[in-house]
Amino acid sequence: MKVERAKEPFCFITSSMLVEITGKKAHHLKEFIQMLKQIDESSIFYHVHRVFREYSFAPGQYSNDFARWVAEDLEEGTLAEQLASINLRDYTDINSLRAKLVDLVENYLMNAVEIRRAPAGREFYFLRSLEVIIPTSHTVWTLKEFCDALNRVGMRSLYYHFFDARLRLGHKTNDFSNWIRTSLDNEELAQKIDEIDPYFMTMDQLKEKIISLCCEIKEPSVPSLATLFVRLAKQFMGKKKWPR
């Protein structure tokens, strides 16, 4: 792999979660929706991302806890499918995701003939997470070093840089693409990594996919017109970032 040194290094960070029990539990959809409207953002984030964080070994059956509860404990198949089909990639902030969830449940309830109660002990318990982030010892300057480190860091690091980053950065990218774009000037690779849909793969698969893209597109051999334009514009304007 031909080495190209980045302008700034990439420092892998790991994130650990401690789960807090909020004490709020819903017995049926009417209670659920009231709580969903008021619950902390961190609770919604936890329930839609937990599956990806915890099942690194196999794709899960449900993309989020809400869909799982509605399917298994309320046996409301249609709503469960609608909730499971929410494309998290479309959301870069929790409140618009919350609005979508509320909208789906409210629409469903308008036509519901009966309100089913979850069996005792199978109510929906709203949890939230407390996140502790720590820099790891893996700091890299080249794509090769990046791939080597990606193989060595834990899934929690991958999660932090890929899933967490979207909400932290507030737009549809991730920390890896951000670094590859701004520090390695490799727009093509950054874009390819941006285009990965992580919600239908395990963390192991996601890691392999990123590494294989890095091997395929080591450096932009023929920069695209868009890349050239962005570079020229940056030089011309003396700015590091193209204005959004």
Partner: protein, 409 residues
């Protein structure tokens, strides 16, 4: 046997998880921890402390373990508390409450609390919180009991103490209560190097099967549980009869019964009576501390069952999943947290359902293999002791940053 070190767990957990535990521990260097419970032998809490404290020490953290002392009146009271918190009707007198308070006061005079973090396990020593104002440390109450349906009188009495802690820990979301303090979720866990879970050689397994006269000529379906109606031994026998109409197999119900538990003896006799003419239904009365035997029976099984009517967290399920066994279990207590339907096992609601699923699995070895593999990975990620260790470290760190949802170190 050589002492197990934290680094040994990198062979069974993901090695990166061990690296991350070390990163967290680095931020706690110099901190001291005290664990307090009511016994140093017997019982799950003591067993866990014996195994986890050396790992804290490996991480450079100093942990002291104190055991409170009490007389019969005190332990009879806390046993009644335990039952009442599980929802059983118990008579609690004022004299019993007095015994509880007095014993905690007596222990307060003998124990010192100079550590940074004080973890009090279960209700027995909970009233030691009265010393909190004289100490600098953060106080944590760790509840190992299923408190989803407690007797309100006992819970209200304990709540006076519990609500004064800095934080509490429960084993399942449904066990948590309405409290003015943060409640964290830390699942119970198993130690993969303990006798109940460690790898066994085929000859060790064969020795146990020979001892208990279990031939290996047919698939073996096992449930390891106390002889207790709530574990549904009679339902297991019904399941056996339904399965045996179609598949040639053996069932094993293995468990112990305490000498002071008359109901256990009655359950054992009833089951023995029903199965008297069934040579393929094996009933094993195991002695205490038969950990290797339990391990061997689980490993020799084709399918492991846990058809309980009520259950706490259900660590026997965790043990079976870790051994990559397909598990057929009831959707009660903490079992659904472990058995994700048709992914890490199968959930059932009746003897008929259990029999149907067992027949299906016995005819589909590839499905059994997949369930077993995913079950083991599920435990590897969530229910090994290293996960408990990590969660405690996170809790200690979070107590240094009260009110912060995102802690950057």
């Amino acid at each position: 046997m050589a002492k197990i070190k934290l680094s040994d767990y990198a062979k069974v957990a993901r090695p990166q998880n061990i690296d991350e535990i070390m990163l967290l521990a680095e931020r706690l260097q110099g901190k001291t921890i005290k664990m307090v419970n009511s016994t140093n032998t017997g019982g799950g809490v003591a067993e866990m402390l014996h195994r986890i404290i050396p790992l804290y020490n490996d991480l450079g953290l100093k942990v002291k373990w104190d055991v409170i002392k009490g007389n019969n009146a005190f332990f009879n009271t806390t046993k009644a508390f335990h039952n009442a918190l599980h929802g059983k009707k118990e008579e609690i007198t004022q004299a019993m409450l007095d015994a509880y308070v007095e014993t905690n006061e007596d222990n307060s005079k003998e124990l010192t609390f100079e550590e940074d973090y004080i973890v009090i396990h279960d209700p027995q020593p909970a009233a030691l919180i009265n010393l909190k104002d004289k100490t600098k440390g953060k106080w944590i109450w760790r509840c190992h009991i299923d408190t989803s349906h407690p007797d309100p009188r006992v819970w209200d009495f304990l709540n006076k103490y519990v609500s004064r802690y800095d934080a509490s820990i429960f084993s399942a979301p449904s066990f948590a209560k309405e409290l003015p303090i943060p409640q964290y979720l830390i699942y119970p866990s198993i130690d993969p190097f303990a006798d109940k879970n460690r790898e066994l050689s085929q000859s060790e397994i064969n020795d146990v099967l020979r001892k208990y006269q279990i031939p290996t000529d047919k698939p073996i379906i096992t449930q390891v549980s106390r002889f207790d109606y709530l574990k549904d031994p009679l339902g297991i026998f019904e399941t056996y009869k339904l399965v045996r109409k179609h598949v040639n197999c053996r069932f094993v119900y293995a468990g112990g019964t305490a000498s002071d538990d008359p109901e256990g003896t009655q359950v054992l006799h009833e089951l023995q009576e029903r199965a008297a003419n069934e040579p393929d239904f094996h009933i094993l009365l195991l002695p205490n501390f038969a950990d290797v035997a339990v391990n061997a029976l689980q490993r020799a099984s084709t399918i492991v069952m846990q058809k309980s009517l009520r259950e706490g967290f259900g660590l026997t399920v965790t043990e079976a999943l870790w051994k990559a066994k397909p598990v057929v279990a009831s959707a009660v207590g903490g079992i659904p947290l472990q058995v994700i339907p048709n992914f890490t096992g199968v959930l059932v609601h009746s003897a008929e359902g259990a029999a149907y699923q067992i027949r299906y699995l016995l005819n589909n070895p590839a499905v059994m293999k997949k369930l077993g593999e995913y079950g083991r990975e599920h435990v590897r990620e969530k229910f090994l002791m290293t996960r408990t260790l990590r969660n405690y470290l996170l809790l200690f760190l979070s107590l240094q940053h009260p009110g912060e949802g995102l802690i950057k170190l």
